[in-house]
């Protein structure tokens, strides 16, 4: 028996002493890490690649010529033959932005140097040729099938002669598109243009949330750590507050809907805005209620990290302050709080990161797909807390899942996703750095 199963001693050690299992657990880690890196990389590649002008290809098929960017290729699968997807644009002429063609049917691919991609304010981009550019008012365009189209120049965002551009020219187009994305207004029900209102809404909401969450969190942490008598009640409270961070965000969302909007907002409307009823002012979703809901959601984060920072302030410093005759509050204000500041900041940044990425509670408390006006503008009283707002996360959900033309909107969603991901990851990274600096300082101090 042992002769037939002649396992070399190396192998025996490898298996019996568990090295194989070590490798297996290493594989689990490798897989997890790979997936995470792959996810961020995939989003980055898909999002960033979208703005780079790709070549316009002209091919002949049995159904006539096709002019467009090659957007996807699919291998033969089962009975389906291999297919190529072209982004042909010209929604107003062809009815669809994308077209699948059997790869075998494609002949004579060319890259005409005079082909252009014209980005328009309406009906998505146009791919074709410039027929007549002499008029200052309008531009006459010709599609690949010979149809001509006259569009006013003021409806044109930019003309990209992709095939004629060099790397430098393409970079300029890329930069201009990126700028439009970050600073422009959305077009075509959010599937084109920029996401500036969503960025603005997200930032505004997070700032309002921070204004609410810092005093709440710091006072609660001071109470728990410095003023309350430590006993089982405070221990239980601490656990409860801790665990509030684990309560699903949608629960906070429905709480916000029921409490802030219907109860508080409804009452405010009846007292102060009764002349406008039944049109609600505060009795409907708005940026104030969304921020307060998120503040409740994130207050445990601030409490926990403030408490941690308070307890890390060395006892000797407090005792020194008290020994010099300072009152408890003077000690806290002049010694403890400054010492705990990095910890408080860490908590705030973590809360901001969490707040920026949450979408579910906002869906119930005031986010909209397209806000007609921003919560901050030049008309009195400048800050409109009752207004609805746009949000990057909700933008992703809405454009990706509710949009009628989700295929055309997909690259846009990738870019928005990348932006949100960057914001959240950078905030977290900042919190991480802050925390490690705090730890280093406390650990390295000579008290």
């Amino acid at each position: 028996m042992t002769e037939t199963l002649n396992i070399p001693p190396r192998w025996r050690a490898f298996i019996r002493r568990g090295s194989a299992m070590v490798w297996l657990s290493g594989a689990a880690l490798a897989l997890s890490l790979l997936m995470m890196v792959g996810l961020v990389g995939y989003i980055a590649a898909k999002g960033l690649g979208f703005f780079w002008p790709s070549s316009i290809v002209q091919v002949q098929t049995s159904e006539g010529p096709i002019l467009g960017e090659i957007s996807a290729q699919e291998k033969a699968h089962g009975t389906d033959p291999a297919k190529t997807q072209f982004r042909v644009c010209n929604r107003d002429l062809f009815g669809q932005d994308y077209r699948w063609v059997p790869s075998a049917d494609i002949q004579d691919p060319q890259r005409p140097a005079d082909a252009v991609l014209v980005e328009r304010l309406e009906n998505g981009p146009f791919i074709g040729f410039i027929q007549d550019g002499s008029s200052g008012e309008t531009l006459v365009l010709r599609a690949v099938d010979g149809q001509t189209l006259e569009i006013p120049r003021k409806h044109i965002v930019r003309i990209v002669p992709s095939n004629a551009l060099g790397v430098f020219g393409k970079s300029r187009v890329y930069a201009s598109r990126l700028w439009e994305f970050v600073a422009g207004d959305p077009r075509e029900s959010n599937t084109e243009g920029g996401v500036f209102p969503a960025i603005f809404g997200t930032v505004m909401m997070v700032l309002l949330m921070s204004i609410a969450v810092v005093p709440l969190g710091v006072v609660a942490a001071l109470f728990l750590r410095e003023y309350a008598r430590q006993g089982w009640v405070i221990r239980a409270l601490r656990i409860a507050v801790n665990n509030l961070a684990g309560v699903p965000s949608i629960v906070f969302g429905i709480f916000g809907l029921g409490f802030f909007i219907y109860t508080v907002g409804g009452t405010l409307d009846q007292i102060f805005f009764s002349q406008k009823l039944p049109t609600p002012t505060f009795g409907t979703g708005g940026i104030l209620w969304a921020s307060l809901t998120l503040a409740l959601l994130t207050v445990p984060v601030v409490i926990v990290s403030t408490e941690e920072a308070l307890s890390a302030v060395p006892r000797s410093q407090r005792e020194a302050s008290l020994a010099l005759g300072a009152t408890k509050w003077q000690t806290i204000w002049n010694v403890v709080l400054p010492g705990a500041l990095p910890g408080i900041l860490t908590g705030l940044v973590l809360a901001m990161a969490r707040g920026a990425g949450e979408v579910a509670p906002l869906m119930l408390t005031g986010v909209v797909k397209l806000a007609p006006s921003m919560p901050l503008d030049a008309s009195f009283p400048f800050l409109h807390l009752d207004r609805k707002f746009m949000h990057l996360g909700f933008h992703i959900y809405d454009v990706g899942f509710q949009s009628p033309n989700s295929e055309a909107a997909k690259p846009m969603v990738f870019m928005t996703t990348l932006l949100l991901l960057l914001i959240v990851l950078l905030l977290n990274l900042a919190a991480l750095r802050l925390r490690s600096r705090l730890r280093a300082r406390v650990g390295g101090s000579s008290f």
Partner: protein
Amino acid sequence: MTRIPPALIRAKRTDRFMTGIITMGGFLIIAAVLGILVFIGREALPLARSGKSRTNPSLQVAPVAGLLADESGKVIGLLRPDSGVECIALPSGTPLATLQDGPVRPWKQATEPSSRGEFAVLDQENKLFFGRLNWEKPSGDPDPTHWTPTVEWNGGMPASMDTLLAVRALPPSGLATQPSYRVLASGKDGLSWTEWSEGALTWKSITIPELQDTTQAIWSADGAHLWAGTRSGNLHFLSMEGEPTLNSSLAFGEPVTALGFVLGQTSLLVGGEQGKLLACQAIKKEDAFLLQWFHQFEKLNGPIRGFKSSLRDKRFLAWSPNHVVVDHLTTENRIFSASAQDTRHASLSARGEFIYAASSTGELRSWSMDAPHPEISAKVLWGKVHYEGYEKPEQVWQSSGGTDDFEPKLSLMPLVFGTLKGTLFAMLFALPLALFGALYTSQFAHPRLKNIIKPAVEIMAALPSVVLGFLAGLVLAPLLEKSAIHVILLPFFALLAACIVAPLWIRMPKGFRLGWGQGRETLWLIPAIFIGLGLCIVLAPSFERIFLGGDFRAWLLAKHSITYDQRNAIVVGFAMGFAVIPIIFSVSEDALSSVPKALTSASLACGASPWQTAWRVVVPTASPGIFSAIMVGLGRAIGETMIVLMATGNTPLMDWSPFNGMRTLAANIAVEAPEAPVHGTLYRVLFLTALLLFALTFLLNTGAEVIRQHLRKRYETF
């Protein structure tokens, strides 16, 4: 005596003031944060409250032949055979108007008015009239004395009828502009019916032997069918298109004394001589009708005389000569019950808030009822309920339908099931990866590697779930649909690749293995995984062609009759697992790392290998911590909203198939809450589910925290 400097006094005062502020503020903030639970509970609580009713003072009026309740509860119309339709204000009883037009008084007969207020009258000259009472209310005027009642009379043609049974108004059909009316009558020749349409009266008798002893009969809503109850205790269902034919029958068990419909006109209520009360429905199955008793209610005292239904929900009024009750069809609960002697006629206001009963002597009793959520009971939320149009009792979530007479189906079981299913698939995916990853990081990884991995994973925990949901729904789901077989085969190919890499590794020189391998195995395995992926991509299509006939989805449908949804549980499992991995990893890594060095050193000193030490010493010691990590992960998976919302079809199914979607409690709130009317039943049920989620996650997290603290204390003894 030394004078205390004012600065010191100020400082003292500030100190006292701030102590007060912070103590109070801190206490208030924590109370407010915990108050969330209280608020959510308070919003859900009215669901559990049973209805309240109040007896209003009764009035003395002349004897009536029927009551016409108005929606407002402020006025009521009385059918008086000798003086016409009399309208009075409530609760004072002030007469408003008596409408004497139409039929010649005293009327010979009048039918019991239907729930919508239509009635038929046979007047002194044997002319048949159809009436409907309307109230003209100047908009916004709450004073009933300013309202004008009118009766819209139709018909008025001579007819010979024996006993009028029931009237039904049919909506105008074809070119007709006016509704047509049909009235049923019984006599010694059996059942007959009369139709008034476009000014013409037609009379037809029904000669079916089974219907000889008919006591009550009623038209179906579309006029295509007829229900008849007999003295011999049977219920017959007739097809009336063309020649009347008996479709099917059911035994009731006692003489039928009353028939009536619940809102929606599909559920027929049948009342008997002994007070028996059942509901019946006819379900169309292929070409035939399946008749079934599908709800049973508590008996009434005495023979049931009639039914009136609410025009807003599925509650209805039933009365016998000494008992007036209001029951709810779906829950079978009795919302209201009162004993009222000598009741002849009764009525229910449209919203079901007011109940009126008139005695033979003309005493008009009235009650007000406050039952805001009669459609909810423990059985509706958790048990199986027989809904209208369903063949058997089922657990269904369908909160709204296309029509006003829709029966809400609010079973929480499909949602709880969906939550468990999603969590299960996420855990199946996440647990092995997260736990083994954590074990490796804490025990075997090189410190330099560990210092990179830990923060990286922690940052991943903050990945917005909307990003994961988007990727799952728009990238992973279509990918999986195209290449499900790749994903299923990938683990096997990865193992295969590991089997290729391992022998290579063993053959490496020892120095290389110790120097470059220990603590860095993970890095070496990354290429192995890529090899596995490559093998999978190359070989999976052949596998699919050879064993599954070329198309996995077609094979699944043909061989196992499983349909493949694009957004299914596997997609959710992946995406949600992804969200949970960093959390489980981070908590369990903490627990594993903080196992006292003394224990591992002792084990290693005794000659155990690192793996033996890790598996037999570290893992058992840290097992409570690992358990708490799993609990925290469960809490996150249960409450995850965006991923489920985006990566499933949100269909509330109860099906364990990994290729189907589901709807979870959390996603359900996101889907339904924006549309739910404030303080309505759906709104409160959603708060109930929020409470459930809150309680569940809070318990899981608290349990985990308690275990962790316990563990920390145990480690301190080393």
